[in-house]
């Protein structure tokens, strides 16, 4: 009975989708951000327009909800530890490992997310900081909800996760835009920019782009040096320190 119902819904959805063949054109103000020694974060504008099949703007009676998500391409594995009182002292007791933890997650929408689509749809597309699919890491048992919430809470505190309901604005009937602010601590690596258009609680069209974030110049060279020749890097670090210490004592002796 349930299966039949689901099938029916599915067919209905496909039919509706076919009727509303729309196009979501989207763009970003810059697709590459270079981390230089004076990098203190960046703003990127995500904009777009919804057009119907004929390439025309939608009629004013048709309204769409837009959701813009910017998230890390490659997720991390993270261990969450919980401190508990052990006699008079607080110690790490319980620990859980999670996979699929994005280093950065930004979401902006035209309206509160829960007004845009039902919960199961939001979860399917991981829309909302509380709906990021954080699963147990391979060979690890899944954590209770409080561990997952702790990840999100920590990332929000570090300004790496943020949710801005109402931050996507329509400039006209079909033109929309929002500003993504990247904090200076944004992890280097590619970001996925996902744009969804919703109508009647369903995704009617979507678009995805890539925003490249990369270290350049001295930042890049040092970081590569540290990773590709770690022994030499360590030696250089020690040698520079010894030289600096030596230099200072020589300079100060001459001043006496």
């Amino acid at each position: 009975m349930r299966g039949t119902l689901a099938l029916l819904c599915c067919i209905a959805a496909m039919a509706a989708g076919a009727v509303r063949a729309e196009d979501l054109a989207a763009g970003i103000s810059r697709d590459k951000i270079e981390i230089t020694s004076n990098f203190t974060g960046a703003n990127v504008v995500v904009f777009g327009a919804i057009e119907n099949e004929g390439g025309e703007a939608l009629p004013a009676t048709e309204t769409r909800d837009i959701v813009v998500i910017v998230r890390s391409d490659k997720p991390y594995i993270v261990t969450v530890r919980k401190k508990d009182a052990f006699g008079p002292i607080w110690v790490n007791r319980d620990a859980r490992r999670f996979a699929g933890v994005p280093g950065f997650y930004f979401i902006a929408s035209t309206r509160p997310l829960k007004d845009i689509a039902p919960e199961n749809v939001l979860e399917q597309f991981e829309i909302g900081i509380d709906r990021i699919a954080l699963g147990p890491a391979p060979n690890a048992i899944g954590g209770p909800k409080e561990f997952r919430e702790a990840i999100v809470r920590t990332k929000v505190r570090e300004e790496l996760y943020s949710q801005h309901e109402g931050a996507v604005s329509f400039l006209s009937g079909s033109l929309f835009r929002t500003t993504v602010s990247l904090p200076p601590t944004v992890p280097a690596g590619n970001l996925k920019v996902l744009v969804y258009a919703f109508a009647d609680g369903r995704v009617v069209s979507s678009n995805s782009m890539t925003l490249f974030i990369d270290k350049t110049g001295i930042e890049r060279r040092l970081s590569e040096f540290a990773h590709y020749s770690p022994f030499l890097y360590g030696l250089v670090a020690v040698l520079l320190s010894v030289l600096a210490g030596f230099f200072a004592s020589v300079v100060f002796r001459e001043r006496q």
């Binding site: 230089t36 919980k82 607080w90 210490g245």
Partner: protein, 307 residues
């Protein structure tokens, strides 16, 4: 003025970091301690990831120790023989330390062990030193050992074999206590991730009865090697040494160490011991409170890497 750190992957204020390096370098030159136990918590407070903070401070410790040692050397305050003997013990100690650390890690309580041993070591050493130096200050600057001789404190090691003459320290004692002390420091530095100056300095003063001025120079000499070893180890295993952060800290640190040495000389040795004891007790108190007070968020995250 901000600069982006390539390994820590975040911007910091240049002047703030140089100033921080300078302040810690000052303490280092004055007391003969590396200052790692002050610097790392400060860096973490600024938002620098803990592995990067711990690894990078080691470069600053190398630099300010070198800067301090050369100045102490010119004043004849470094006992190379004593330092060498302790270093030999230190090598053996660090090998055992790695094994102990791995065993604790396997038991899952390395963090707790480290925190507790910090508090116990800092508390007992700081407390004893504070009490002793307070007495000395009250009695008008008498040197260690002349007014107070605990039973066994001065004589127990004199019957030991392998006697060596340490000219600079004006000592003729068995080589075994310095080797054991060096081994203990090597063990601590591996397990607790510190240079061990705050244990070494009081132990040399009270157990080996080395003159305070010589203790500071010789302790710094020993710390150079411990910190250089730590830098290499962190660079190889974790890639977490941030050269740019290290250079900024170093720039402040080497200058601070010079002022520290000069200021330390002007201070009477009993006052110097009292100040160091107060510093050690303050850090002990802070760490103790961290253990006892309920955390603001009981959960903490550790990123293990990309999937």
């Amino acid at each position: 003025m901000q600069i982006y750190l390539p390994i820590a992957e975040m911007p910091v204020n240049i002047l703030l970091i140089i100033g921080l390096g300078g302040a810690v370098g000052f303490l280092s030159g004055m007391f003969g301690v590396g200052g790692g136990f002050v610097l790392a918590p400060f860096l973490m407070f600024l938002g620098i990831p803990p592995p990067v903070a711990v690894a990078t401070q080691a470069t600053q410790i190398v630099a300010s120790s070198v800067s301090g040692v050369i100045t102490h050397w010119r004043k004849g305050n470094v006992d190379l023989k004593m330092g060498g003997v302790m270093l030999a013990g230190g090598l053996v100690g660090s090998v055992f330390g790695i094994q102990l650390f791995n065993a604790l890690k396997a038991a899952g309580q390395a963090d707790l062990f480290i925190a507790l041993s910090y508090v116990i070591f800092l508390g007992s050493i700081g407390g004893l030193m504070f009490w002793e130096s307070l007495q000395a200050v009250r009695h008008g600057g008498s040197s260690v050992g002349s007014t107070r001789r605990e039973p066994g404190g001065h004589y127990w090691m004199h019957g030991w074999p392998l006697k060596m003459r340490f000219h600079r320290s004006k000592l003729y004692i068995s080589a075994i206590p310095p080797v054991l002390l060096g081994a203990l420091i090597g063990l601590l530095s591996v397990v607790m991730g510190i240079g061990g100056g705050f244990v070494l300095v009081p132990a040399m003063i009270y157990l080996l009865r080395v003159p305070t001025a010589i203790v500071i120079g010789t302790s710094l000499f020993q710390i150079i090697f411990v910190a250089a070893f730590a830098t290499l180890l962190h660079a190889i295993t974790n890639h977490s040494v941030d050269l740019l952060l290290g250079l900024l800290l170093t720039a402040g640190g080497v200058v601070g160490a010079q002022f520290g040495v000069r200021y330390g000389e002007r201070l009477r040795s009993d006052w110097l011991r009292l100040c160091l004891a107060a510093l050690v007790l303050m850090i002990c108190l802070r760490l103790g409170l961290d253990l006892v007070l309920p955390p603001s968020d009981p959960f903490n995250l550790a990123v293990e890497g990309l999937e």
